[in-house]
């Protein structure tokens, strides 16, 4: 074997080792979270965890239902705000605006995706929360405040992925429709949007994942009370906030219960990703 060949073999071996260690680090996280979180779920019953109403972690009462509902409530709220505005913006930019405008706005949207969540939370606390308190009542720290801020936060995700899938619709579809006498608006509504449907759905699901996983913005503006909200002005605590608020001092079973909260988050995200990947793949095969 020449030196050159030996070097080649060595390099390949070294790269393999590094790749394996990177991948195993990532695998270990998954295993670790599940190993720490699963036993306590089985000890007290998965049902009690998922559907229990009482969260008194120091008295062996680990009901996560209020937090699960809290997460779902703010996520649903964020979608109600994020979907119409995000889609409108994406459709406007791809179908009805000039190339110049698009070239200016797309990087701006990408930049917005980079604003740290704690800054969104801060802006929520200083602008939105007082506004809600004065005009709508309550403390202001509420489902509504969290929904609005999260809705803004998921806009870049929805807009940029929707733009990509709208641009992937072949030009000939639009030309065919216009040649048949349809207006531009009809073409968008009846030809372009249905063709880009899977990509748009994928963008919404990914936005949803971002909203569910968001911690800092929500913790600052959602109020964090462990109770099931009865109106949009009530405070809620989400799964992510639950971890962030209590991990600092938790120990023993309390700590394990927080890992169990992490497991639930993990599983939700996995399910959402799988759906998003499947729908995105559907568009590609078309």
């Amino acid at each position: 074997m020449t030196t050159l060949e030996r070097n080649e073999k060595l390099i390949q071996l070294a790269l393999l080792m590094i790749a394996l260690s990177a991948i195993s680090i990532l695998a270990i996280i998954t295993l670790f979270i599940f190993k720490e979180g699963m036993p306590i779920m089985f000890k007290y019953g998965v049902n009690k965890f998922l559907f229990g109403l009482d969260w008194y972690p120091t008295e062996q009462s680990f009901g996560l239902l209020p937090m699960i509902i809290g997460s779902l409530a703010v996520t649903a709220g964020s979608l109600i705000i994020g979907i119409p505005f995000g889609l409108a913006c994406a459709i406007f930019l791809t179908e009805f605006s000039s190339l110049r405008l698009r070239q200016i706005i797309k990087p701006i949207i990408e930049l917005l995706a980079g604003i740290p969540s704690v800054v969104y939370g801060f802006m929520g606390v200083i602008i939105l929360v007082p506004f809600i308190r004065e005009h709508l009542g309550g403390s202001g720290l509420s489902v509504l405040a969290a929904s609005i801020i999260l809705g803004i936060m998921i806009l870049p995700t929805i807009i940029s992925i929707s733009i990509d899938s709208l641009q992937a619709v072949p030009r000939s579809y639009r030309e065919g429709s216009i040649a048949l006498g349809a207006t531009k608006w009809q073409t968008t509504k009846m030809v372009t949007l249905p063709s880009a449907k899977s990509g748009i759905i994928a963008s919404i699901i990914l936005g949803m994942g971002r909203a569910i996983g968001e911690t800092m913005a929500v913790i600052m503006i959602a109020g964090n009370a462990v109770s099931i909200p009865h109106s949009v002005l009530d405070p809620v605590r989400t799964l992510t906030s639950n971890i962030a608020l209590e991990m600092g001092y938790a120990s023993g079973e309390h700590r394990q219960a927080l890992f169990a909260t992490g497991v639930i988050l993990f599983i939700i995200i996995m399910i959402l990703n799988t759906i998003a990947n499947a729908t995105a793949a559907k568009q590609r095969t078309k």
């Binding site: 590094i18 930049l111 704690v118 800092m216």
Partner: protein, 287 residues
Amino acid sequence: MDNRKWREIKQQMGFLALRTSALIIFIILGILLYFLFVRGIKVINWGFLTKMPENGMTSGGIFPAILGTFYLTMGAILFALPLGIMAAIYMTEYAVQGKVIRLIRIGISNLASVPSIVFGLFGLALFVNYCKFGVSILSGSLTLGIMILPVIIRASEEALLLVPNGFREASLALGATKWQTIYKIVLPNAIGGIITGAILGVGRVAGETAPILFTAATFYTMKLPNSVFSEVMALPYHIYALMTEGSHPKEQKAIAYGASLVLIVLVLGINMIAIVIRNYYRRKKKW
């Protein structure tokens, strides 16, 4: 004729709705950023950026928080970048492209979207408690590094896959070895995408709070960090703590405005560099 007019009106209404929605978004964002800028710029001066906090967080500067964020970000990148790029090289250039590698890819892209607080949980359990690194720069950097590892692997892989196969074949046909081909042909052509991914990773790490909540950050420390085992102040955590802890909300809020503006300028600046570099390489691309 009537029908055509109706269609025309519908189209105009549709346009209007779309344009208004797009406008509303930018107006809202504009207002938020304007607020932040106007109130933040009043607080910021040279002293604010270079001094220690004074009088129990009610005056003075945010220097330790800026320094802490710098250390944490550097640590995370030093850990994740070489590991991520080399893993990506192996996965795209050497590994057999079958079921196993596909499964690994799916796993990696799933991990890229796991909530950052879950990484914080992991970091606390593994680095702080199990490895006994304590609440420290080391624990925080490793946690942040692991969080962006999937992002860096994915970005590097994408960049490598964009290099046309013809380049590799031509190089091999000239008698170059595999590693020579990767080192001299593939990497130089993929470097733009890899750098962009890395810089975006830096931007993300600099702004993250949840992973360092229990692994690295502290609200107040009298001294600057002197080793990787020191706990540090960090900009994003500082903003959070100013708004939720302490006993002088009014004075703290003013500082939080300044700190938010500094953080946002820092992160957006980093991202802007990434976008500029990406556009530069896109234009330069030879194929």
